[in-house]
Amino acid sequence: MSKLGVLLRTTAVRLSALYLILFSLCAAFLVFYVTGMSERLLQQQTRDAVTAEVTQIEQVYTRAGINGLLRSLERRARQPGANLYVIAGPSGEILAGNVASLEPGLLDREGWTEKPFAYQRYTDETRQDSHVALAHVLMLDNGLRILVGRDLQEPQKFRALVRQALMVALGIMGLGALIIWFAIGRNALKRIDRMSEASTKIMAGDLSQRLPTSGSGDEFDRLSESLNAMLGRIEKLNEGLRQVSDNIAHDLKTPLTRLRNKAEAALARKGTSQRGALEEIIGESDQLIRTFNALLMISRVEAGSAAAEMSEIDLSQIVSDCVELYEPVAEDVGLRLEADVAPGMVISGNRELVGQALGNLLDNAIKYAEGAADPLIKVSLGRRDGKVVLSVADHGPGVPREKRDEVVKRFVRLDESRSKPGTGLGLSLVEAVMEMHHGVLDLAATDADGADNCKGLTVHMVFPASAT
């Protein structure tokens, strides 16, 4: 498409064209109305003047007779810019006056001529211009006809002048509009070109690209800004997705290989021992499914699709439920699960996800504190600085301060804990859940010695202040 074609298709040009047409129509209407009105006014004046003269002439005729009338007309006709005067015989032949010829039949009717008529003047015989005039015909009792008229050239000139002015004004307006179109349209077009250039790059896969802003804060800038915010979100989600697929590639390969090896071994074996191997394979695939489910859950929580299922939930009840659920497990491995739960802690949240998050923390605590010198795992729920804080504290090996950011990442497990079962996704889910609840996940040491290091792990789930 040609550049002009593109320009003509822009909204600015289309809108300006529409406005121009509307405006021109209004202007044209206005000018025609004004000229029409003034013409009517002038005609009225003409008629008035003619009527006055006709009255005078009638008076002259009654007072001074035909001679007086002729003299009076002679005198009037010689004045500069004089009106039209014609004295005609009963058959319509012109006897005297300042008119060379008239439209035939004009003198047959008394009173006003029906419409302006063409005539030729005596004085400018050489040019033989035809003029237009309005006239009144008077029939005298002796059969003579007298026509008194006035030339309409002046009003017509006036009208032509106004029309011309209108045309010039419209022309200038159109030209101006064209220039403005060009300027605005080209400017808008340039910015849109820059925007589509950036989007082409983004489409090609460079999500770090952003749409240009001019800093003027106009509607283009606002559009760019909100699109940029959207791109930021997409980039973050995409990054998460990429991370997940990388992790899947790395961390699921191992259990899949193990699964395959077991299946191969089972195939090689014969008879009843196959059953045990198959059960192991099922166990292995269950673990894989569990990992996939956890991954899916994390991404869905992060994508915010579970946010719709938020309601008022009694956190105290959930904590009591979970502690009751996990208590026997802790007891079985020689740990003591103790709960200090403030009643009536109501927050806005998702019961299942908060339960899952707390379950993950309890599971971790039980897993890693097993065999610790101090067998106490303490779960506490209370209000601190107006925020609702749920903490799980164990006296296991803890997490060194520098590794605390790391363990929250997907599939990250500290080296020495590889022997414990688990997906490496527990804390990632807890963090995603906290983010969804606009809260914070905070890892600390349980027994803060001077170095705040490696003395058990306390995980705080800090929920924002609730209404109650």
Partner: protein
């Protein structure tokens, strides 16, 4: 076996449906199959089934709309929804549409079988039974007391609910997830064998001083409470 249970599977994946049908038949359940929503709706309203197993994503009419349409037509056959989505909010929408149970894919067939059997039996088990009996074990839902051979066994409230659920479905396998869902009312993955520990505690209480074991572990599936001396509970 009294009468065989008859179920309808509405599932568009032919291979999965064939596998399910075969497995259900091996478990002694008569099984019909519909491969799209419209024909499933037709079959479910024209015939009498004990349980409907409905996939959520179906051609021609999606699973949830099949269920709501059935409920609108006053067909109250229990429905188990199968779904590849499998998240908390999906479960809620599924149950809101009129489903009775919800199982996310991928699932173990044992899990599905246990749930279908419990759903199919639901019609027959009167909810208003005030006392559940399995062998010499007796659970009184009104006074919240449990007796065996006339001897009172003290139980924690949660243990009582666990036993109540097991006995309500006596003679049937209940899975660990079913226990977590029905006794604790949570749908999350507890990571460890929490349920096993609770069940083994309960078991020790109701079986310790008695000869006959009642609460059995079904390998690869879950638990079942049953009096072995009678053919069926």
């Amino acid at each position: 076996m009294v009468t065989r249970m008859k179920i309808l599977i509405i599932e568009d994946d032919i291979e999965a449906a064939a596998y399910l049908a075969k497995a259900f038949r091996e478990a002694g359940i008569v099984c019909d199959h519909a491969s799209d929503g419209e024909s499933g709706l037709f079959m479910a309203s024209e015939n009498s089934y004990d349980v409907l197993v409905v996939d959520r994503m179906l051609p021609r009419r999606d699973g949830l709309s099949v269920i709501s349409e059935l409920r609108r037509k006053e067909v109250h056959t229990p429905v188990l929804i199968l779904s590849a989505l499998g998240q908390v909010d999906d479960r809620v929408t599924g149950l809101r549409a009129g489903g009775d149970d919800y199982l996310p894919k991928p699932y173990a067939f044992n899990e599905l079988l246990a749930r279908v059997e419990v759903l199919g039996r639901r019609k027959g088990t009167p909810e208003q039974d005030m006392v559940y009996r399995v062998g010499d074990l007796e659970l009184d839902r009104l006074s919240h007391s449990v007796r065996r051979q006339g001897k009172e066994i003290p139980l924690q409230p949660r243990e009582f609910r666990l036993l109540e659920y097991l006995m309500k479905n006596a003679g049937q396998v209940v899975t660990r997830t079913m226990l977590l869902e029905n006794v604790w009312d949570y749908h999350f993955d507890p990571q460890t064998n929490v349920i096993d520990v609770h069940v083994s505690r309960l078991r020790s209480k109701i079986e310790k001083d008695f000869d006959l074991p009642l609460l059995r572990t079904v390998r690869g599936a879950g638990y079942m409470i049953k009096d072995d001396r009678t053919a069926s509970a």
